[in-house]
């Protein structure tokens, strides 16, 4: 496997290290989560069988490992994306978080509370007020009007008809579906149906929203609209979001952090630029190979240290700027870009470095 460009520069490496340190605050923390389907569900973990690969285990015990020893932290207010191909266990993983599927082992901590220990009543309470979920095939109720679909979560927690309809109408307005209240789901297009799903999830005013491949069933153009919609809503309502997808571009576009899953395990967690710029193994590298680096990597990722004699009249950018956005200025300026964070000059980016990033090759040292 060819090593992909670019290895992080010294500055970037330092940043990478900083990024991996726990920031202290977590919304959801997952530790050692397992899910095994089949007869041997509770007899495998802790035995040598747990070391077998999926196929070996299935042959040996008839059981299927969907999620294998997964741990990650989600920070409050961020969009955390889990990306993997079909069969990688990502949909099982997201269902284990709120115990729609009962995990086999491991801890899920939300706001200091261990969800695995919650009683059924407490779990229902969490689902009614703290979490909500958006589904791949929408999961709408065909026998109810759009507005009553959106109000469903409010209805099951016992709110009055007037209150829940008012709230549902607001939510429909928020997702751009005014005037559709009295229609039935099958009278709407796929994209509109998923907006209903989105409104339903928003209506209960949760702390955390879970998205299970919500846009996979939609056309590419509508998918892009919906992605932008999620970004807009994220900016407006500021919820913590956990987002499952099999689409790398979607993961890189939406995620503050991205976890790559394969065969039930997480192979890498990082910011999009870390996934693209420093793939953890050949599998991830293969994935990100065709991603245009300049669209994902930041100036901070490729910058070099300031050398004495560097011209200081070049354009100024913060280190978090995506390379692509600086291309025009680089083209127009003979001087290197100055990278300034918090009023402090932290590094420089030469024209050759930008070109190398666009071309996807190692810069000359």
């Amino acid at each position: 496997m060819t090593s992909t460009f670019p290895a992080p520069g010294p500055f970037a490496q330092a940043r990478l290290a900083a990024g991996q340190q726990p920031s202290g605050e977590t919304a959801i923390s997952v530790k050692g989560l397992w899910k095994i389907f089949g007869p041997g569900e509770h007899k495998i973990i802790g035995t040598p069988l747990a070391e077998l690969t999926r196929d070996e285990l299935r042959l040996a015990t008839g059981s299927n490992v969907a999620v294998r020893d997964v741990s990650f932290d989600v920070r409050p207010g961020e969009v955390f994306v889990v990306m993997g191909l079909s069969g990688s266990g990502k949909s099982t993983l997201i269902r284990c978080l709120t115990r729609l599927i009962e995990p086999t082992a491991g801890e899920v901590t939300f706001d200091g509370e261990e969800i695995g220990k919650a009683s059924q009543a407490r779990l229902r309470d969490l689902r009614r007020h703290r979490f909500s979920m958006v589904f791949q095939h929408f999961g709408l109720l065909p026998h109810r009007r759009v507005i009553d679909n959106v109000a469903f979560g409010l209805e099951v927690r016992g709110e009055s008809k007037k209150a829940r309809r008012d709230k549902a109408a607001q939510m429909l307005a928020l997702v751009g579906l005014e005037g559709q209240e009295m229609r039935y789901p099958d009278q709407l297009s796929g994209g509109m149906q998923q907006r209903v799903g989105l409104a339903r999830a928003l209506a209960v005013d949760p702390d955390v929203m879970l998205f299970d491949e919500p846009f996979s069933a939609l056309d590419p153009l509508i998918r892009r609209d919906m992605q932008n919609e999620v970004l807009r809503l994220h900016n407006e309502v500021g919820k913590t979001m956990i987002f499952i997808t099999h689409d790398l571009a979607e993961a890189l576009k939406l995620g503050d952090h991205v976890a790559i899953m394969r065969a039930g395990q997480i192979v890498q967690i990082g910011r999009p630029e870390e996934i693209v710029g420093a793939p953890a193994d050949d599998y991830v590298a293969d994935f990100v190979q065709d991603v245009p680096k300049s669209y994902v990597l930041t100036l901070g990722w490729i910058m070099r240290e300031v050398r004495p004699g560097d011209p200081l009249d070049g354009p100024v950018y913060p280190s978090t700027t995506v390379i692509r956005e600086a291309v025009r200025d680089v083209a127009c300026s003979d001087s290197p870009i100055r990278i300034v964070d918090d009023g402090k000059l932290v590094g420089m980016v030469d024209r050759s470095m930008v070109l190398a990033a666009i071309a996807g090759t190692e810069p000359e040292a």
Partner: protein
């Protein structure tokens, strides 16, 4: 990819050897048959100790009607059911014929269309004209109670089975068994526990009609997309909320179908319960069939078909309209709907008022009558005089060329050879478990002392299935390839499938008189619609691409059928075979009533005469066991392919 290739190779070898091993097995069977035939053939001994013991057991049960299990369970259940039936029948009588026709018409008008309303009311008037109004109301009363009980018990069980895999697993084999149990087989053991009467008949009907209520309800609940249930759960719904707000509303049309199917099953059984003193239309039909009065049975048969049509029309569409209760989707506006409902209410009230108060509207006037008895009898006489060369020719050819030799072979074969052959066949086709079941069931038939009549029944079943499959595959394939044929065949199939089994005996009896062949003909007619439908659906399901690729490489139509469509529809063909076996068996034993002999005859005798009870009970059990053997052999053939395909993925 290489793994798939490796897996494919031994499987191809396996399939080849499957056909070969059946041939080999048959060769071995023939070799064994030659020296062994005539030995251990287990001829019927009507005074066998088992039959005598069963007879005395029956006498003991009758003598002990005050035993606790009668006093505290069987008797109150029977009397309670009978009381309910009397209550409902009493109301049906009170309302008068105009009242009933008006209610049915109003239901049709409100829930379906005005055309249906007129049709069902007209059908009921026709029933009155046939001179069997009172008998029809007795049957309807039993139907209403039996169906209500089936639904009250069946739908909750179905919901439970739909929500719990464990319950589903527990219930499924029981339902499978109930579904292959011919109607007849229920009656004898029930008589032992409940004795003869109205209540027993209704209980038998209820038990027979309950499987579709359970199965289809469970199917409907399971048909709700998992994601929708998850969506409701993810918002914190309780189990009860998920059931009430999501699963039941979304399963509504399937549950409507469950109601419809339960009614149709109940109707086909309620007629047969005439054997245990049900009265009503079944009794009229039975009495006429017993004396080979084709004309007399014809009126009752037409009345049953009309009743079936009325109930089917009223409920089949109920399952559809209730699915979409939205104003915009219907062509009828809310205001119109309200008016229609009001009109229906007025019609019903006026009809009831007339029926209760006016004597002409209360009892169906006997001066108007439209009996088909005489013309039908005239036709039968004419056929006997003029078409006998055709009917008896057909009968004689089939009997002497196929039925007789086959029966000769089966009855002359030692029982161990037949059981061994069946078990080995089950082993090859369906695997070890099916083979064990088949062997045990086969030996049990021998142990019951009814081996010989069982072989006679088997002869009729094999012959009937052969004919039904030949016709069904031919017509089904043709219908799948030609939409014109399909358009003609479908409605005929629909009509045939709503008719209760008993009715099929009438035309067969008219043509062929009371013989074994009559039973087989009725069974074939009974089974063909189901086989045809399965074959047509299967052949239609073959991918267009496969057919196009065969055609583009120059295949003739016949080659496409033989090399592409039929092999690819294999699963449906096997399902058709399985259905054909079950249906033919069910009907062949009913044919015992019209000269079919064999097991069915002994069941009828057992119900009619105390001294034949033991042999009748044995025969009823043997019918079930025979059904199990045949079902295991044929069902496994389809099921096993399915498992293999899943493993491939």
């Amino acid at each position: 990819m290489t793994a798939a290739a490796l897996a494919a190779r031994p499987r191809a070898a396996l399939r080849l050897s499957k056909t070969r091993s059946i041939l080999l097995l048959s060769a071995v069977a023939v070799l064994l048959y030659v020296p062994a035939n005539g030995h251990l053939t287990l001829p019927l001994d009507t005074q066998a100790p088992l039959f005598i013991a069963l007879n005395s057991f029956r006498d003991w049960m009758i003598a002990n009607r005050t035993a606790w299990f009668f006093v505290f369970f069987f008797t109150p259940v029977r009397e309670g059911t009978a009381g309910l039936v009397d209550f409902v029948t009493g109301w049906l009588t009170t309302l008068g014929w105009v009242g009933i026709a008006a209610i049915a018409g109003a239901l049709g008008l409100v829930f379906v269309t005005w055309r249906t309303g007129v049709a069902v009311a007209g059908a009921l008037v026709l029933v009155g004209l046939l001179g069997v109004w009172d008998a029809t109301m007795v049957t309807l009363g039993q139907m209403i109670v039996a169906v209500a009980l089936s639904l009250v018990i069946g739908i909750p069980i179905g919901i439970w089975a739909g929500r719990s895999d464990r319950v589903q697993r527990a219930v499924t084999p029981l339902l499978d068994l109930m579904q292959i149990m011919p109607t007849y087989a229920y009656l004898v053991p029930l008589v032992l526990l409940f004795f003869i009467g109205n209540g027993t008949a209704t209980i038998a009907t209820m038990i027979y009609a309950i499987p579709p209520a359970i199965r289809l309800t469970a199917l409907g609940i399971r048909g709700v997309p998992a994601e929708t249930v998850e969506a409701a759960s993810s918002l914190g719904s309780t189990g009860w909320q998920v059931l009430r707000k999501v699963q039941i509303p979304m399963a509504r049309s399937t549950i409507g179908l469950a109601v419809n199917q339960t009614i149709m099953m109940a109707l086909s059984m309620v007629v047969i319960t005439a054997f245990v003193g049900a009265g009503g239309l079944g009794e009229v039909l039975l009495k006429a069939l017993e004396i080979q009065d084709v004309g007399g049975s014809f009126d009752a048969g037409v009345a049953i078909v009309l009743l079936a049509m009325v109930l089917d029309r009223l409920t089949a569409s109920a399952s559809q309209t209730s699915d979409r209760r939205r104003p915009g989707a219907d062509r009828v506006s809310v205001a119109d709907r309200r008016q229609i409902r009001a009109a229906g209410l007025v019609i019903a009230i006026v009809g009831i008022g007339l029926g209760v108060t006016q004597s002409w509207a209360h009892v169906f006037p006997s001066d108007y009558s439209l009996s088909f008895a005489d013309p039908v009898n005239a036709l039968v006489s004419w056929l006997e005089a003029n078409a006998v060369w055709l009917t008896s020719g057909l009968k004689d050819v089939a009997s002497s060329w196929l039925l007789d030799p086959l029966q000769q072979v089966l009855t002359a074969a030692p029982f161990w050879l037949v059981v061994g052959y069946a078990a080995a066949l089950a082993l090859i086709v369906s695997g070890r478990r099916a083979a064990t079941v088949a062997a045990i069931a086969g030996l049990a038939i021998a142990a019951l002392g009814v081996w010989r009549p069982a072989m006679e029944t088997l002869t009729q079943v094999l012959f009937g299935v052969l004919i039904a499959m030949v016709v069904g595959v031919a017509v089904g394939t043709w219908a799948a390839r030609s939409s014109l044929v399909s358009q003609i065949v479908r409605p005929i199939n629909d009509a045939l499938q709503t008719m209760p089994a008993f009715v099929y005996l009438i035309p067969a009896l008219a043509l062929f008189g009371p013989t074994r062949f009559t039973a087989v003909v009725a069974a074939v007619i009974y089974a063909i619609p189901a086989v045809t439908r399965l074959v047509e659906d299967g052949v239609r399901g073959v991918s267009v691409t496969a057919i196009e690729s065969a055609t583009s490489s120059g295949s003739t139509a016949f080659q496409v059928i033989r090399k592409v469509q039929l092999p690819m529809a294999r699963r449906s063909l096997l399902a058709g075979l399985n259905q054909g076996v079950v249906l033919v068996l069910a009907m062949v034993v009913v044919g015992g009533l019209v000269g079919g002999q064999a097991l069915g005859y002994h069941v009828v005798q057992g119900l009619a005469q105390a001294s034949d009870f033991g042999i009748g009970l044995s025969a009823a059990l043997a019918i079930v066991l025979l059904g199990v053997v045949l079902d295991r052999i044929t069902q496994g053939a389809g099921a096993r392919r399915e498992v293999k395909r899943i493993e491939d993925e």
